[in-house]
Amino acid sequence: MATEALRRTPLYEEHKVLGARIVDFAGWEMPVQYEGIKAEHETVRNRAGLFDVSHMGEVVFKGRQAEEAVQRLVTRDVSRLAVGQAGYAAVCYENGGTVDDVLVYRTPDDFLIVVNASNREKDFAHFQENVKDLDVEVVDESDDWALLALQGPRAVELLQPFTQTDLSSIKYYRYEVGEVDGAYAVISRTGYTGEDGFELFVRPDDAPRIWRKLIEAGAGPVGLGARDTLRLEAGMCLYGNELDAETTPLEAGIGFAVHLDKEQEFVGQQALRSEQEEGLRKKLVGFKVEGRGIARHDYPIAVGGETVGSVTSGTLSPTLGEAIGLALVAPGVEDEFEVVIRNRTVAARTVPLPFYKREKK
């Protein structure tokens, strides 16, 4: 991996112009911050922020048995997805461990699955391997799309002047195909921040112009640093932290995206059913640190000196001003435990998720 050249999105030059700090993220040169993580976080919570998430992957399923293929690959029952609708789902191994967490879009003829950048190659191989017997074409269209996310309470008013599509009529987790600044765009009312907003799938050649216009119109550029604090406040999972091959979607608390009763069996369904019946081996909890300190990924969780789990994500919440985190713990662990922060134990208390919920209009 180290010898492979890092990849750049079509917006790389825009990030440089805006003074972004660029880091290697899953083999991509991506902006981690521009102005600063706290300021960018607040931009999204209070106004509108613009993210480049073009490194994410887009895999299209075409053909007579596209629906069967997707049904087999993801935990959600996609037969219940209408055309124009998107659904969050997990992709599992036979043993129930998680390959990735994804968004599934149903289009008039096909399905689109949006996958994490860090899992692109692995997912594509997993998809192909598991649908070989079906009449379906699995196409990696990742390089044909740039993906921009415009997120925040002012997203609608900021984007509306650039499109004929009536944005306020697009419901949450729905999308419309239209134009943004005269260019073809899939306008999806989805996001990873806990705010209202849109994800815009556009052609790579159009992306820099659209990016510049949205920035000129008042959107603040937001890097991956604030993307992480925003999603954590919203209680959303990050693959590699809350989810991995050793963790099932039930354990990671995304059972709402797992339809164990779905008629067509998905990879991992039997394992997840057994786990549901026999009880979870571990569970995801949200917590606040009550003493001084910030919990971080991989810090141990202890009760009475005994390790009962570990922190999956932790930060100082910019919105709440408190140290928050997610942890995978043994099923019996209840309200109180300690986080081991560099050989020091600090009290923590579980809290309901999400940590932050926007006020609905």
Binding site: V32, Q33, G36, I37, K38, G225, D228, T229, R292, G293, I294, R296, T315, L316, P318, A323, R342
Partner: protein, 125 residues
Amino acid sequence: MSIPEELQYTKTHEWVRHEDDVVTIGITEHAQDELGDVVFIELPEIGTSFASGDSFGTVESVKAVSDLYTPVDGEVVEVNEALNDAPEKINEDSYGEGWIVRLRVSGEGDLLSAEEYEKLLEESE
């Protein structure tokens, strides 16, 4: 990036100001810029002794945890308590109000001049 002439520096991006047998230690402007928004600091107890190269505390930004190292041997005589409530002072004024700790020196360690530190930064670019 500002690198005041009158201070000395470490390879781990702390700055040091000598006043008689007491040194004040902080982190450099470069270090705070690399860290980003500082949100938490762990300070040592007054009276604790450290040998040069020891970690005497940590500074945390939104994203990262970074150890603080003393370049001299000495005993903690003062800590910047104000940082507990306002760790952002490290970002805002890293060579002034963002100072971290004062040690009474009992043994000198390896220190860089401003010029040497500037060279170190250039080489690491």
